[in-house]
Structures are given as structure tokens and as C-alpha cells.
Symmetry: C2
Subunit: 333 residues, 2 copies
DNA sequence: CTGAAAGCGCTAACAA
DNA sequence: TTGTTAGCGCTTTCAG
């Protein structure tokens, strides 16, 4: 079925297949009459051009890929992650392309090619949207070498210039979240942002920066903890007088993992329930939780749209494409 | 880059491209000597056969697709849904295929083709795994017409024979969940399973069946509510004496949507907090919630593997392929 | 405006 | 064991 080829359509319409090809591709050099005739025949037999053959001739796939990272909790553990996809898809379909998702993990064992690698090397897509976490040195080289257009979601941590990315404005997010806690009356606000993590992940460094700036504006003390142990000791069983003194009114967790680490700790430490918790990325489960969590709301769909739009601009080699987009956030509820 | 073709490899190796093709495809009729030579040249130039061209020649894509349904809350709203994907991917890579995800929604407006339709009609994949919710009459016809092998996740609700599916054993799940609540000491156990929904969705009917069987075994009263209103009235402000009497000790919600409907209602009705809640599909957030939720644990990775394995069997036209797989569940924590 | 022919990169008979 | 020759289905010169 669907075996019907351009040649058969041509025969049926009594024209050459080149003519059929012209109507398929909207070539203007064609008489209204034959165009209509061919179109009718195509419709009648619901002919659909074979995309593989088309791809071979055009040396294109008419497909953009999205690679998600299995190990990226920030993405998949967030049930609202799919909104990004929705945004991407809308743009992709408007451009009459296919949207293909693949998943991958940054596996170090080079024994077998990663999905990502195969897709790039085999040119299975014309462009790629990948998460920050997948843009390591090796993958970067690969993309460049194969001249594969790409956009990164999440600001890149690679010290490369010119890597195009789309991300939420993490500095601003850090600011408004801190501002929100201050509005709530908190003064002693601590932030859980690992030193190593902040080095590795730009988004953590930025969130920290937003926090720091806000606290300093309000002349409040900046208190950063890098490991949960520090916090735990403040609430430990042998807590000294000074530990009790050191307890903050609020704690900002830079990632959901950090948040859950604290929440898990809390299950054995009712004292912790006094603290106001806050985190980034949508967290709509908050209202059902024992311990409510303040969070920042992100227009993820917009983020997806921005990424896809940027990708198409790159694919079309449009001049003057902005190399990055930051998306503002607001306090969620 | 990567422009290197089979012809150039052939020239470099001083052989015919057919010979190169033979080593690519592991043809046995080739001398060890030339095979090694060609392989060396290929490696040296990291030659990768163009998959598009290969696809055209083979009339295959070496790709299997997975279509997820945006509107299917049961899938995407569940952060652990990706485990299914992990299972699928493992099998797919073992078969040296690509795995491509697309998302779709059962949009009734026929104005534009759905992604699903395009993928099928254009033969972008050799086989497809799709959720139950996408297998409507129209899509079914399409798959059959285009002879596209497919497997459905979630038992099919279409009254078609021979639709291959993989699902959790929903009857068993209903049983163990009910059994679990009984073990906990509950006697008045109500189940929220919409009448219309149970008609439409086989999985609801099955869960209900498991509940019913267990309750009857224990000589307990089967109490089914089809709309949240019934329950709400039992807890409403003007609750009569009889309403209070009618309050169950436990409530089983057949879907997460139903569960959240109850949880949202609860926010204004502390009385409801007395009730034991239970639901299906993994719900690991339970331990962080104000109101803990009993749930059934599913080996989603296994489900993915089963679906993919079945698909490959179908693609290879293996004889005697079982038409369905039911996967047992256990109580989660 | 339309047709004929070459070719995209690879595979698969059929010969040699 | 290897080379030759057609295609796979479509696009795209280049003539007419």
C-alpha cells in the first residue's frame, strides 16, 4: 500500500514525472491547468511523496531532533517538562518538518556510539536541540565537524563562544525568589548551592548570583551551604545552643534533587518543618505537600518555541541570529 | 564533512563499490584480505554509510517510533513514565535500530495531518509503539492500510481483534490494592470509577473488576462512585447524619486525575483527611504529601522491553508471536 | 511550460 | 570472490 510512486502519478496524469515533482514542490513554472490536473490525481490516490527518496535527492531529512538526557533529573523528573516539547513541536510543524525525540545519556564508555552520535554522524536530522548537560567537549566537536545546526537548552557550561542557547533567566529567577521570601517576612535566608555544582552548572551559579545580589541590596547576610550536612548538623540531635541560633528561616534549593534531599531529611526531623522551603523550576505539587514549597514559574512552552525558532534560523543560515535567549520567570503558586 | 561516499571508499581501496557494500553488510562471500583492506580504509576516513540512501535501497528506515499522547495524563503527568522509554530503547539499540519519539494528540480537526499520520503515511519508521489512547478507528485503519507493524501500550479499547498490546495487569492491580487496604484494616472501601470512563477505558473496567472480586471474596460491600460529587456530598457542609454514616474508610481512585480531583476537594474539607487514599501507577511523591496515598508499583522498564520485543517480532514476521502481554504489579511504598 | 536524462548513495541481481 | 549494471523514488539541470 502507498506503493504509489511519482511515476505512476505522472502516467495517470499523462505528464512527465518531472512535472509532478514541480507541482509537489510548488514550482511556479507550470500551467494552472496541468497543475490542477496533477493535484487532482494526487489527491484521488492519496499520493504522498516518499520522504526517504526526497531526502536523498535534497540531501535533507526535513526533520529536527530533540535529544533529552536520561540522567538530567531537572528535565524528566519534572512532569511539566513536556510543555517545552509542545512549544518546540508547534514551531516545527509550522515549518513543515518532523519532530523526532531521542534520549541519551552522557555515558563515558565509548564502547558503542551514543544515540546522539549516531544521529549526528548519520545525518538523521537537519538540526538538533539538546540539553546543556549533553554538550560536552566531545559532542561539541562532533556537531561542529558534521556542521550540524543545534541549539542548547540551558546555558552552556562549555567554555566555547558562539554556542547558541535558550534558557530561563536564572539570575532574575534567583532575585525574585529571594525577594518573595523577604516579602514573606524572612530575614535569615540560606541558599543550598553546592560549590562543585556551581562550578559545573552555570544555572546554579546564576541562581546564586541573583540570590546574593538581592540579599546584599537588603543588607541581609548571605549564607551559602554547599552540602546538606551543614544544614543537617544545625538540626541534628546533638544540636548545641549555637546550632539552634544558626537555623535559618528559609532555605532556597537550587535544584529539585537538593530539595528532595532536604525533604527526605525532614521526615526524621520535625524541627525542619519550621523552615520555609523554596526552589526553582515549576513545582506545582507544592500545594499537596506536607511541607509547601515556594517556587518560580517558567513559561516552558515559550522556551521551546524560542529554541525551535532559533534552530530554524540557524538551519536557514539567516544572518544576524541572536546567539542566546533568556526567558524571565515569575513566582508561582 | 562526512561527505565521503561508498564510491570514494571503493576507489581508495581499489575495489568496486559493490564490494564495499558487501563488507558493510557483512556478506560472507568476500576474501578476508579485501575485507580487511576495505575496513581499514573505512575506519581511516571514518566513513559512515548514508542512512537515507540505505533506507531508499532497502526500503526500510531502521527506525522504530514511539508516539506519546500529549493529552494522556496517565503518561506524561507521570514523571516515571520515562522508564518505559528506557526499556524500549534498550531493546531497540540491541537490534541496532534508531528510536524516535514523537508526540501527538488525538486532535479531531482533520485540517492538518497529525504527526502520527504523517509518520505512518510517509513510512518514516519501520514499526511503531503507540499508546492505547491514540488507537482510534481512524488510526487503526491507517496502520492496517499501510501495513505498519505496531504495538499498543495499554490494552486496546477498540473492538478489534488481533491488536497487539502490552499493559500492566489491571485486574491484578485492582486486587492487590484492595487487598492492601483490607490488610490495613479498612472495611468500607469505595472506588471512584466513572461509568462513562469505565466504558471508554478498558483499564478502568479492569481495575474495577479486581476491586469487585476482592471485595466480594471478603464479603465486603462494593461501593462504586462515578462522580466526585457523590463523595463530596458526603463531606459537604450540610452533611446529614446519614452522610456521616456513609463515609468510607478508604477510597481508590482509578486515575491520577481522579486522585487530584479528590485532593483538591480535600484542601477545603479537612474531614476528608481521615480517609485512606489509593491509586494506580507509581506515585512515589506520596511520602512528601500531606495526605499519603497508597499505590501500586509497576515495572515500567519491563513494560517497555516487552512492547519493543513484541514489535520486533512483528516486524520480522516471526510466527507465533503472542498478541498481548500483561505485567503483574505490586504494592509500592 | 514541459520532457528527457542524469544523479543523490546504496543494494542486489547477474555475470565473469 | 569480484565487477557490472540496474534500479530504489525523487529532484534538477538542460533542451525543446
Amino acid at each position: 500500500m502507498s506503493k504509489i510512486t511519482i511515476q505512476e502519478i505522472a502516467d495517470l496524469a499523462g505528464v512527465n514525472k518531472a512535472t509532478v515533482s514541480r507541482v509537489i514542490n510548488g514550482n511556479r513554472n507550470i500551467s494552472e491547468k496541468t497543475r490542477l490536473k496533477v493535484e487532482a490525481i494526487m489527491k484521488q490516490h492519496n499520493y504522498v511523496p516518499n520522504s526517504i527518496a526526497r531526502g536523498l535527492a535534497f540531501n535533507k531529512t526535513f526533520t529536527v531532533g530533540f535529544c533529552s538526557d536520561y540522567t538530567d533529573k531537572r528535565a524528566f523528573a519534572n512532569p511539566f517538562f513536556y510543555k517545552v516539547l509542545q512549544g518546540i513541536e508547534e514551531i516545527v510543524y509550522n515549518h513543515d518538518h518532523m519532530f523526532l525525540m531521542m534520549s541519551d545519556h552522557d555515558h563515558d564508555n565509548k564502547k558503542s556510539q551514543s544515540t546522539f552520535e549516531r544521529v549526528v554522524v548519520e545525518h538523521r536530522v537537519d538540526g538538533l536541540i539538546i540539553p546543556n548537560s549533553l554538550l560536552n567537549e566531545r559532542n561539541y566537536e562532533l556537531l561542529v565537524k558534521h556542521e550540524m545546526p543545534y541549539v542548547v537548552t540551558g546555558e552552556n557550561m562549555l567554555s566555547k563562544d558562539g554556542v547558541p542557547w535558550v534558557d530561563i533567566d536564572n539570575v532574575q529567577a534567583g532575585q525574585i525568589l529571594t525577594e518573595h521570601l523577604i516579602d514573606l517576612g524572612c530575614r535569615e535566608i540560606m541558599i543550598y548551592a553546592g560549590g562543585a555544582a556551581a562550578e559545573r552548572d552555570k544555572f546554579i551559579a546564576d541562581r546564586l548570583k541573583g540570590y546574593r545580589k538581592t540579599m546584599e541590596n537588603h543588607r541581609l547576610e548571605v549564607r551559602i551551604i554547599e552540602q546538606a550536612e551543614v544544614l543537617k548538623s544545625l538540626y541534628g540531635s546533638e544540636s548545641s545552643e549555637s546550632a539552634v541560633e544558626g537555623r535559618p528561616e528559609a532555605l532556597i534549593c537550587c535544584t529539585h534533587e537538593q530539595l528532595f534531599e532536604i525533604l527526605d531529611f525532614e521526615n526524621g526531623n520535625p524541627l525542619l518543618s519550621e523552615i520555609a522551603l523554596a526552589t526553582f523550576d515549576d513545582f506545582p505539587m507544592s500545594k499537596y505537600m506536607k511541607h509547601p514549597v515556594h517556587f518560580v514559574e517558567v513559561d516552558l512552552e515559550m522556551m521551546g518555541k524560542a529554541a525551535a525558532s532559533m534552530l530554524f534560523s540557524l538551519m536557514n543560515k539567516e544572518p544576524g541570529v541572536p546567539k542566546s535567549v533568556s526567558i524571565a520567570t515569575r513566582i508561582g503558586s
